[in-house]
């Protein structure tokens, strides 16, 4: 089975499990390292970012950072770390339901033959900081809300602006997050901001592959745990002929894999472990996905030759 076919199968299976699994008794807890949105009625598990902001994370505030409360938060964090350590960025490229939705948008664009917009390298480098900024935002705002220093409706500040909150529930028939909430100034601000980011994301996802992943704090969080992860994209620089296939097929337009001439570890910050680069690389063994030292999949000319790219 070709890698991309396997990936698509996993993507659809995980989409169904994470979006509708709760209706069939699936409870994956609150430490799922991808956009398994808790706002989707009947979802199969909760995105860890929500937990991180809320009751198992920063939202618990400093007042309860002791005893069992802290242990509870640590238990979830440990579970998150274990899940990331085992599956790494597969959460992003293979499992995340929002990632699949982004891929659908790209497929529509490809069907109509509309050009993908290229974000200049310098701009992309600047935008890379946004996801870390969002992590800081997630860490700072909820404790302030819990401590009563700011309005309580700031409690889940990232969910308040995450386009996943508005788009994903639509697949369960829930349109409530497409509304403006006039309860108070904060809720109005958040609901308006959510719809603004949703609009930007919808257009962005159409014109740029995996547009939202550029800003995703989950990607940043998983990348911060890179030293613990076993799954790696490895390059044999002495086998690379520099054809640029890897760069061209990369949904995140990563240059590192193509340019690297000495280091073996090419698992960059933006990498989603989708494996497209490995699949399209015509140099035998130049690229590979490894679980620790175990080679899971390596590039080969035969595989590149059989990879039909026209859809």
């Amino acid at each position: 089975m070709r890698l991309s076919r396997l990936r698509h199968t996993v993507q659809y299976a995980s989409f169904l499990a994470l979006m509708y699994g709760g209706r069939f008794g699936l409870r994956l807890g609150s430490a799922v390292p991808c956009f398994s949105c808790p706002y989707v009625p009947g979802c199969g598990g909760y995105c860890y970012l929500m937990g991180l902001q809320g009751y198992i994370g920063f939202g618990m505030s400093f007042a309860v950072a002791k005893g069992i409360g802290l242990l509870h938060a640590l238990a979830y964090f440990t579970l998150f770390v274990v899940l990331v350590a085992v599956f790494g960025k597969l959460w992003c490229g293979w499992i995340c339901p929002f990632g699949l939705i982004q891929d659908w948008f790209s497929s529509v664009r490809r069907f109509f033959g509309i050009r993908e917009r290229v974000i200049p390298f310098e701009t992309k480098q600047r935008l890379a900081y946004v996801k870390y900024g969002l992590l800081v935002y997630i860490a700072v705002i909820p404790p302030l809300a819990t401590a009563g220093l700011i309005h309580q409706d700031f409690y889940l500040p990232f969910c308040g602006i995450c386009p996943g909150k508005s788009i994903l529930p639509l697949f369960a028939g829930e349109t409530s997050y497409m509304t403006l909430n006039f309860d108070n100034a904060v809720s109005l601000g958040f609901s308006a901001a959510l719809l603004m980011t949703t609009g930007i994301a919808l257009v962005g996802m159409f014109f740029k592959e995996r547009f939202f992943c550029i800003f995703c704090p989950m990607l940043a969080l998983i990348h911060m745990l890179k030293p613990l992860t076993a799954l790696r994209l490895i390059k044999a620089p002495s086998s690379c002929t520099g054809c640029g296939n890897c760069r061209r097929v990369c949904p995140m337009d990563i240059e590192t894999v193509h340019r690297e001439k000495t280091s073996r570890d090419v698992q960059s910050e933006e990498c989603l472990d989708c494996g497209r680069c490995v699949e399209s690389c015509p140099s035998g063994g130049a690229l590979g996905i490894y679980f620790s030292k175990l080679k899971l999949f390596a590039s080969s000319r035969a595989c590149a030759a059989e990879t039909r790219k026209i859809r």
Partner: protein, 414 residues
Amino acid sequence: MTGDNVLSREERFLKKFSAGAEAETRKIVSALRTRLDYSREFDYFIELAETCGDAEAVSCRTGRRTVNLLCVQAPVEMVHAAGFQPFRVWSGSSAASRFSLAAAPALMCPMLKALLGSLRANEGARDGNWIIPTTCDWVIKFPEMASYECPSFLPRVFWLELPHLKDGPNGGEKWLDEIYRFKKYLESMGEKIDRHSIAESIELYREAWSALTKISRMRGCGLLANVWFALIAGTMFLDDVRKWTAAVLNVAASSTAAYRNNARVFLAGSPIVFPNFKLHLLLEETGMSVVADDLCSSERIIPGAAAFEDTSEFGLMSALAERYHRACLCPTFIDNDRRVNNILGQRAETNFSGVVFHVLKGCHPYDIEGMGLERTIKDRGLRFIRIETDYMPEDERNLSSRLEAYRCTLPTPQ
């Protein structure tokens, strides 16, 4: 004719050339047909190779007008998408090479010398449009030399200005500009190139490359002799690509094991073009099997499948542009340090123990690059031999002795 039964000097030369070229082709065809590993599946390619210099025959066969391409940097998919048959012009004929002696510098690249001779001998070969990327000096000056004989040649040349720095900041953009200019040029003569037509062509050549990959692997496993591989690859542009692909798959389906006990070598360097299979045959005779190569006349005849995700016209064009630029291992590029990676990378797959580096006399870029390559290859514990030759058969014995001595240094696979 200047008089009754009296031929002019030019006519005598022409007659001599024709006879020489025919004899040359006959000789190699006969050698191929009498090989132990010959099978009927190869007939299609032999017949194509016999007409390798005849653009008109190719045009009749494919039902498309041919566009002449020199070197390997012009995207053949675009030519095909514009409704033309890409026709890679080069020549391996020593007779043609001799025929151009008076019109070319003595130390000129034998391949271009032979091409010049072919143009001198065959007026029909000068017709059509020529796409010439600015690769080496000989290629750049070739149209000028051709125009001495045929003044109408130069205006029919479309120059593709090749940025020689692949990884430079602007190389890619400049090349894309050139490719779009090339597109307009093709469209001015033929059909409009849209995303559907170009996608179709990309797919056709991907399938062709995929088929070539299959027989390349067979060669690597000792199931197909390198001579056949070189012959098959060299005929890619002499017929409709679908027919060619089907014929290659036919070969792939019927393999004959041969040369398993020969020493395994990698063949690098200047192109080896039919009918000049001197080195291919000498390597076999001296007990070596070429299991992989990086010649632009065989393994690199097309750069391979252009991978892309963006299916817009721009996406496809830029994918093609990049594939034909960055992936190209031509020594005329400044930053061509990854060339050695291609050789070393294939070692893991084909397990060769030595590298034979072929340099055509006068082919300076390969000559220069061979020096650095030799050092790197030897550092990796591999045997290296540099073979400098031309199209003339006179040095065969000398080469044979050197190759035999080289063969003795190589381990024989069990």
